[in-house]
């Protein structure tokens, strides 16, 4: 059996769904962020796989993946800073306990 594009896409899809599951079920803000990172990785696998199989002539997919990695890093930096700030003033990072505002 040949390892084709679809195989990679399926792995990425599973990773994406795992990440989504994490985002939906976690209480801890940092854990949610980890779920998000998994989702971003899934997107990157897609991009690199497509680059390899769909459009190998250029490296657009790889460039895109690099940009997403960059953004993931920035997101982590900013997001975790927010988590720290929240922890300092609210003394929790469990998102379901961060609920000063309700409709």
């Amino acid at each position: 059996m040949q390892v084709g594009l679809t195989s990679y896409l399926i792995v990425a899809a599973l990773l994406f769904c795992l990440g989504l599951y994490g985002v939906l079920t976690r209480r801890n803000a940092v854990a949610i962020l980890m779920g998000i990172e998994l989702m971003l990785n899934a997107a990157n696998i897609n991009l690199v796989a497509f680059n390899r199989f769909v459009a190998p002539a250029a490296v657009a997919g790889q460039v895109f993946a690099l940009v997403i990695i960059t953004l993931a890093a920035c997101e982590a930096a900013v997001g975790l800073a927010l988590v720290m700030a929240a922890y300092r003033s609210l003394e929790t990072i469990q998102v379901d306990e961060i609920n000063l505002m309700k409709w």
Partner: protein
């Protein structure tokens, strides 16, 4: 044959720790499980002949983002060692959503005829990436620096104390 085996192993290396990441009741273990996941993804990149991205994946994801996450865990609730409930009440819902989405995605992916082209990737893709960044994607390249700058400034502002 070897390729398939490698692919299977890498997939498992990616996915099994990922399951730990999203289910472990110990947040530090979850965070540390990110490392094998990222490395597994690195392996997949390598199989896809994107070794530059693979290197960056290790450097940034495993070496920087994970560290950052670990730091924050240490500095907040993980550092106290207190085991708090990690999952909320949406577990069945989330599981259903994830499984359903996975099903949909896989069905669509397997049935879609992707437009595969036969060409080959540039042999030395660092050079290709460099050329892309410095010519075709020059704007993206420059904007990236601004994004980094604002992230830096913003995160510093947020992380520092007000007094």
């Amino acid at each position: 044959m070897g390729e398939l085996a490698a692919f299977m192993i890498l997939s498992l290396v990616t996915l099994i720790p990922a399951v730990v990441v999203v289910t472990s009741s110990n947040i530090v273990r979850a965070a540390l499980s990110l490392v094998p996941t990222f490395l597994g993804v690195t392996g997949l990149y390598v199989m896809l002949q994107a070794e530059f991205v693979a290197g960056i994946q290790v450097l940034i994801y495993a070496g920087a983002i994970t560290v950052l996450i670990l730091f924050v865990i240490m500095l907040t609730e993980g550092g106290t060692g207190v085991r708090t409930r990690q999952l909320n009440d949406q577990v069945p819902l989330g599981a259903m959503a994830a499984v359903w989405l996975a099903f949909v995605l896989i069905v669509i992916f397997t049935r879609t005829g992707w437009p595969t082209a036969a060409g080959v990737l540039p042999a030395y893709n660092v050079v290709a990436v460099g050329n892309a960044f410095l010519s075709d994607y020059v704007l993206i390249f420059e904007v990236t620096s601004v994004v980094l700058l604002v992230s830096l400034v913003g995160a510093i502002v947020i992380a520092r104390r007000e007094d």
